[in-house]
Every structure is written in structure tokens, then in C-alpha cells.
């Protein structure tokens, strides 16, 4: 919070403020003394000191893999870091269902798919299927959610058409394959299609995938983005809070724990 006392922090290795950082990378040269010196100089150039090459391994004839420990003199004033204030607590499975029942009196309708050429349904399945992910139930398990998971290789227009037929509240697009930014191209097409269909700005549009973050999703025109490690309950919380805000039942400024940032 600005204005409060400075709070200087540095990385903690095994002593306060020792600034120890782990690095690992590969150089496309054979393992030699020269390669090790080059790695040490590279790390010094990045501003590190006390460079210790823990391992230099011949990953292949012409590639050397390094694990390096070094100290950084950089620090951060933690008091100056600004992120949105947490206001609401993240709601659990039962609380969230109760809230939907109370505020809407109907089930929240969610559609999801891997669109375009993407065939990897692991992400969308983890969020939507009964089973869920890491002990966190998927959205299908929520009695106050109605979920349709259309699977993989669904054309963008098809996902939108089917979601509109059912009056979906939210559409989840999962993109796993990111080679040559194919996910960005496909999701831009999705947003264009949503605009043409007239649901842009009305239906919640969510993007998820291992190379997705909230900022990228916002840039692409989505309402939120969910990256690796996202639990279904985080997506469920986002959907319910956003719908409450849209319908004026919750202040726009309200933030909650686990909100995508």
C-alpha cells in the first residue's frame, strides 16, 4: 500500500537477504572449460554475482546444460507493490451453489470446448468434467451449474451457435497447442465470431490453457484468462461473481480471493 513504511525484500536462500537465485539453461556448444566460463560470464552480465556453476552437463554432443546458483543485488520494496485489494473470501462448493440458488434461482449455463484444430481436452476436462482437478470438483458436479463440454476440434462458430441456443451465461475456450501462436490466431477468430453473433459483452467469454494468462486473455478480448494450475472452483467463483456484477447484485469494485489478475 503506498505511503506506508518501506519493506525491502530480496530472495531468501538460506539467510535473510542473501539474494540467492537458481538458474538453469542450455548453451548450444559442447561441454568444455570455455563453455563453463561463457555461462558464468552470461550470468554475471545479467547482474548476478557470486556465480557458482553447480552442474555443467553434456546434454548432447553440441549442447551443454547448466545449473547455476548466483546472488542478486536487486531488491523490491514490497510496500510499493500494488494489486487489487482482496475483499471477498473465495466461496467453496456449497457456498457457491447456495449463492446461485439465492440470487438467480436458476442454473448457471456454461459451455466449453477446445476450438479450432486443438485436440487436447485435458484442460477443459479438468475444469468441466465431474471429476475436476487436484481434488477440486469440476463444474459438472455443481448442482446449480448446467454444463456442456463439446470436446475437441469444435469450430468457433459451432460453439457459439450451440451456446446461444441454450442461452449460455459463459463460454469457456481451451487452447493447449500454442506452437507458432496458433492459439492467439484461433482465439482472435473466436472473438470476431462472438462479435458477429452479438454475444460479445453479454455472454462471459473465458480463455484457458497452459500458455494463457489473464492479461493475454484480456488483450485478446476475453473477460478472463486462466493459466496452468487453475482449479475449477476458481473458474466457478469468477463466473458467479461476474454474473452478480453484471446484474447489479454485487458492486463492480468487489474483488475476491483467487480472482484472475
Amino acid at each position: 500500500m503506498p505511503g506506508t513504511a518501506r519493506q525491502i525484500i530480496r530472495p531468501y536462500g538460506d539467510r535473510r537477504d542473501d539474494g540467492v537465485v537458481q538458474l538453469s539453461f542450455t548453451f548450444p556448444v559442447p561441454l568444455t572449460e570455455k563453455a563453463k566460463e561463457a555461462a558464468a560470464q552470461f550470468v554475471r552480465r545479467m547482474g548476478f554475482s557470486d556465480v557458482r556453476i553447480a552442474a555443467a552437463e553434456p546434454a548432447a554432443d553440441n549442447y551443454t546444460f547448466f545449473i547455476i546458483y548466483a546472488r542478486s543485488g536487486m531488491y523490491i520494496d514490497y510496500s510499493e507493490i500494488q494489486v487489487s485489494e482482496l475483499v471477498a473470501r473465495k466461496l467453496d462448493f456449497d457456498e457457491l451453489n447456495r449463492l446461485v440458488e439465492e440470487k438467480f434461482g436458476r442454473r448457471v449455463i456454461v459451455f466449453g470446448a477446445c476450438t479450432g484444430t486443438d485436440t487436447h481436452t485435458v484442460g477443459i476436462d479438468a475444469i468441466l468434467n465431474m471429476k475436476g482437478y487436484a481434488g477440486d470438483y469440476g463444474l459438472e458436479r455443481y448442482p446449480w451449474f448446467e454444463v456442456s463440454n463439446l470436446g475437441s476440434q469444435v469450430p468457433n462458430a459451432e460453439l457459439i451457435r450451440r451456446a446461444m441456443q441454450k442461452g449460455a451465461d459463459a463460454i469457456l475456450v481451451s487452447q493447449v497447442v500454442t506452437q507458432r501462436d496458433v492459439h492467439k490466431e484461433n482465439t482472435r477468430q473466436f472473438i470476431e465470431a462472438a462479435k458477429e453473433a452479438g454475444i460479445y459483452g453479454r455472454t462471459l467469454l473465458l480463455l484457458g490453457g497452459p500458455r494463457v494468462d489473464h492479461r493475454l486473455a484480456l488483450e485478446l478480448g476475453f473477460d478472463a484468462g486462466f493459466g496452468p494450475g487453475t482449479k475449477p472452483s476458481e473458474v466457478a467463483n469468477f463466473i458467479v461473481h461476474s454474473l452478480l456484477k453484471k446484474s447489479g447484485q454485487e458492486p463492480k469494485e468487489l474483488h475476491y480471493q483467487g480472482e484472475p489478475q
Binding site: F25, T26, A59, F65, T119, V122, Q153, Q179, R211
Partner: protein
């Protein structure tokens, strides 16, 4: 080794159920052919290039025959007609057949007809002999250089550019990889043709083409000689071009192919009939070419829950085995797939995974077996992820897996960095070295958790096989019994490429493959 868990009579019963399940499907297979199979026949006769707009010649000709309503006699027959009309080369045959109204060609006199078939058979025999020579050359290099003890460490490259793939494959081989898999470009399985030539642009992988196969195999041959051990190559005989890819792979001396009797149906929504018919022919090619198939049961437990659905893996392996044996494959060619996928938050998962892998080994004692790493519950904490993969390495060596796809610590983050492969190979080499023979040192107690779990999974697998036999495989798939995915017999992609054979259907390649 893991306990017996189940007695031999129960295993025989499971095999009988699987045989009675695949029987009616094999009847359907015998009566039908597909556009992909007919294109494979044309490839055998050297019709392998592409036309002016990049359309493969085999597609050009088969589409023409299909449109004229005469493909059900077999593409080989029409190839023979072209020769009889004076075509002097495969290219001329294509030109002749695409420039005349085929359906209006007059019927031949019986003796002309017989001679045509004999001529084409002779040509097919010579082509198959050439194929055998290439396969023998591969086998000779393999036995000259030798391969290490299994589990064979299998890693993936996926740059999109075949030349970059070669660089990464050689680096992986130098780091200790025994098998290199080149991942295909996303959705190639849904293309109803095999792209032509070397390719440098792909999405999420590199196109499977005959030329790309050749480039990679030649690079690995040279590296194998340098390393003094044979490095195997695999690709994907799946999707709409199972049969053609199998032929291209056989010709270019590949060692393995991902090839599953049901994967395309379940996970790519390819029509059931199309997949069943194509898998048979592709496996016939693999049988001739000494190619090890890798089946895809591991996928079931990335969609369905690995604990709850463990029995579907076993049941499907029996079905895959039955289809494979019907296509002439031997036990050593069966890389039946399974994986280390039970949620690590559960207690005793090492016991559960050992139980499952031991049960698979018990059911298929002489099969190659293909073990897959954790993916579904992987975390982006790479240090945890690495420890998690190492447990799969231990189970793989303990249960004598033939082939082990190594987990990558950056699974769920990005395509593996070069160093990720190196780290995985180093750890797996250590675990395999450290624990080799552990199966002979420890007996699994018959009243313990591992045995009880194995027996329970096997019982459920038998129940599922009984359902498949009673109601048919098609009905079982329709109920979502495998991988929680439901498919219907007449739905999915590629049904329009399935044809009922005419009574005078002619396919000398199939004759030779079945006589093999």
C-alpha cells in the same frame, strides 16, 4: 514379478470373450474396403507423388474411381486396366484412368481378365519383395548394432520442421534415448490424404510424410552407427490414413507405429466402420514389416478417472490384442498401452500403479507393453513433476515394460526444452540401472493390497468384456464404456470412404499380406 493374481483359465476366458467380441467386427472388415486402403494399394505400385496442386496422385485416382462408382472392384484392378490400355508407368496409368469415362469401359473377355489379374499380381509380388528387402536391411542394422535392455526410453520431438526435428532427435539419442517419436501436426489425423514431401511448417508437430520418414530414419541410422546402438523411430498410423501411413512407414524402415483399433473412434470422432477396417489393413502391413504397434489405452484414463476406469484399460487391451492377432501380429509386436495416471493426492498410489502395471504384465506376459507417464495430474512445480516421473520410471523397470515414454518435468507448461529431455533420460537411466531385476527379488503377497486391487480390476474387466461380447463392441462404445466417450456406428468422420467390396474385388496386396 507380480503375483499371478488370476489363474490361467481366467486369462483364457478373457481372450475367448475378446475373440467373440471382435469376431463380428472382423466379418464386417472382410466385406469392406476404404479409400485409404485402396490408396495404399496404389502406393505399392509406385503411385506415390503429388499432382500439380499438391494433391497426392493416389487420392486423385481413388477419388476418380470412387466418383465413377467402380472403386469397389479394387484400385488394383483399374491399375491393371490402365496397364492393359498401354500405360508404361504409374504416372501414365493415372493419366489414362483420369482421362477416360471409366464406368463406360467395356468388360473384358474372361481370359483377358484373368491375364490382367495375373500381371498385376506379379507386379505386386515384386513390390512386396522390394518392401521385404528394405525391412530386412533395417533388421540387419538393428541386430548388428544391438539395442539395450528394455524398457526402451522413448522421447518426443515436435518442432514442426523436419530438419529441426532431426537436430533434436540426434541430441536426444546422444542423451540416451532409445526411441524417437515425431509428433504429428495437430489434426493431421483428420486429413484424408498423406501430405507429400519434406515439410518445415507444422502446428504442434511435424506432418507425417514419406519423405519426412526417410529424412529422419537416415539421420538416425547414421547416429546409431556413431553411437554403436540402434535408435528406433516411431510415428502415428492413426486417423483417416492409418493404412497409408503404415505402408509409408514400412517402406522407410520405421520401427514402431502408434496404432490402436479404437483410438480414432473415441478421441478423433472418426467413423467406427472406417477405423475398424483401416486398422486391420494397417496392422497387416505392420505384421509384414516387423513394426511394433503402440496402442492407446493410456488415453482412456486421461479423460475418465484412472482409479475408477482401470478395468477399461485391461478390457481394451484384450480387444486390441485380439484384433492384432487377427491381423497377423506377433506378441513381441504388441506395445499395449497403459499409464501412470492415478491422482497423486490419493494414498498408496505407488501400490495402485504397481498393481495395475503388474496385472497388465500378467495378462500379456510376452507383449512389448508401452508405458506412459503421468500427464493429467502434472503440476507446474517442475521439481515435484520430476519426482512424480521418477516413480513411473521405477514401475516401468519393475514390471518389465518394453517401451517407456518418459515424462517431462515441464509437462503441462510447454513443449519440452532440450534440457528437459536430457534430465528425464538421465533420471530414467539411473532408475532402470538401479532397480533392474527388482521384480525377481520381491514377491507380491497374495493377501495384500496390490493383489486385491489387481483381482478387483480384472473382475471388472471381465464384466466389461462379457458386456462387449453380449451386446457387441459397437453398443459398448455407444454407451461410453471406453474413455467415457460415446460414439455411434454411422456417425463420425470418413464413413463416405467405406465401400462394400464387389464379388470380383481385387486386392493383390491384401492377398500377399494375408498369405504372409
Amino acid at each position: 514379478m507380480g503375483g499371478p493374481f488370476v489363474d490361467d483359465a481366467q486369462l483364457e476366458y478373457a481372450r475367448r470373450l475378446a475373440g467373440e467380441t471382435t469376431g463380428p467386427v472382423l466379418e464386417l472388415i472382410r466385406q469392406h474396403t476404404t479409400v485409404s486402403i485402396e490408396r495404399t494399394v496404389l502406393r505399392l505400385f509406385g503411385i506415390a507423388g503429388a499432382g500439380s496442386r499438391g494433391v497426392p496422385l493416389a487420392n486423385l485416382l481413388v477419388d476418380r474411381l470412387h466418383a465413377a462408382g467402380v472403386l469397389n472392384k479394387g484400385a488394383a484392378y483399374w491399375y491393371g486396366r490402365a496397364l492393359q490400355m498401354g500405360a508404361a508407368s504409374p504416372m501414365e496409368a493415372v493419366e489414362r484412368l483420369t482421362s477416360v469415362p471409366i464406368e463406360k469401359l467395356p468388360a473384358l473377355a474372361p481370359e483377358e481378365e484373368a491375364k490382367l489379374r495375373e500381371d498385376v499380381r506379379d507386379e505386386a509380388r515384386a513390390a512386396v519383395e522390394d518392401l521385404r528387402r528394405r525391412v530386412r536391411a533395417r533388421d540387419e542394422l538393428r541386430s548388428e548394432l544391438g539395442m539395450p535392455e528394455p524398457p526402451h526410453k522413448y522421447v518426443i520431438v515436435a518442432t514442426g520442421n523436419i530438419h529441426d526435428d532431426v537436430d533434436q532427435a540426434l541430441a536426444a539419442a546422444q542423451g540416451g534415448a532409445d526411441v524417437i517419436a515425431v509428433i504429428r501436426s495437430t489434426a493431421q489425423s483428420l486429413l484424408d490424404y498423406v501430405p507429400n514431401g519434406a515439410t518445415t511448417e507444422g502446428y504442434g508437430g511435424t506432418y507425417a510424410t514419406q519423405e519426412n520418414f526417410r529424412i529422419m530414419r537416415e539421420a538416425l541410422d547414421a547416429e546409431s552407427r556413431k553411437l554403436g546402438r540402434y535408435v528406433q523411430l516411431t510415428n502415428y498410423s492413426s486417423g483417416l490414413c492409418m493404412a497409408e501411413i503404415a505402408f509409408c512407414a514400412a517402406y522407410e524402415r520405421l520401427d514402431m507405429l502408434l496404432n490402436d483399433a479404437m483410438y480414432g473412434i473415441l478421441f478423433r470422432d472418426i467413423n467406427m466402420r472406417r477405423t475398424f477396417i483401416d486398422q486391420y489393413f494397417s496392422r497387416r502391413v505392420c505384421a509384414l514389416a516387423g513394426i511394433i504397434i503402440n496402442t492407446g489405452e493410456d488415453n482412456y484414463i486421461t479423460t475418465a478417472d484412472a482409479y475408477e476406469s482401470a478395468h477399461t484399460v485391461i478390457a481394451s487391451q484384450f480387444i486390441n490384442e485380439s484384433f492384432a492377432k487377427a491381423a497377423g501380429l506377433k506378441d513381441w509386436q504388441l506395445g499395449l498401452g497403459h499409464s501412470y495416471e492415478i491422482d497423486p493426492q490419493r494414498p498408496e498410489t505407488l501400490l495402485l500403479e504397481l498393481s495395475q502395471a503388474m496385472l497388465v504384465r500378467r495378462c500379456f506376459p510376452n507383449a512389448a507393453l508401452k508405458y506412459m507417464p503421468p500427464t493429467k495430474h502434472k503440476q507446474t512445480d517442475i521439481f515435484f513433476s520430476h519426482a512424480y516421473d521418477v516413480m513411473a520410471d521405477l514401475v516401468a523397470v519393475w514390471t518389465r515394460q518394453g517401451i517407456q515414454l518418459l515424462g517431462m518435468m515441464t509437462e503441462a507448461m510447454h513443449t519440452p526444452l532440450l534440457a528437459d529431455r536430457y534430465v528425464a533420460l538421465k533420471a530414467a537411466s539411473y532408475i532402470h540401472r538401479a532397480a533392474r531385476g527388482i521384480d525377481r527379488e520381491f514377491e507380491v503377497r497374495d493377501d495384500g493390497k496390490i493383489s486385491e486391487r489387481a483381482r478387483a480390476v480384472f473382475r471388472e474387466a471381465i464384466e466389461l468384456l462379457e458386456e462387449c461380447r453380449r451386446d457387441g463392441l459397437i453398443a459398448a462404445i455407444g454407451r461410453g464404456r471406453f474413455g467415457d466417450v460415446k460414439r455411434a456406428e454411422l456417425a463420425g468422420k470418413g464413413l463416405d470412404g467405406v465401400l462394400e467390396k464387389s464379388p470380383d474385388y481385387f486386392n493383390p496386396l491384401l492377398e500377399l499380406l494375408e498369405a504372409n
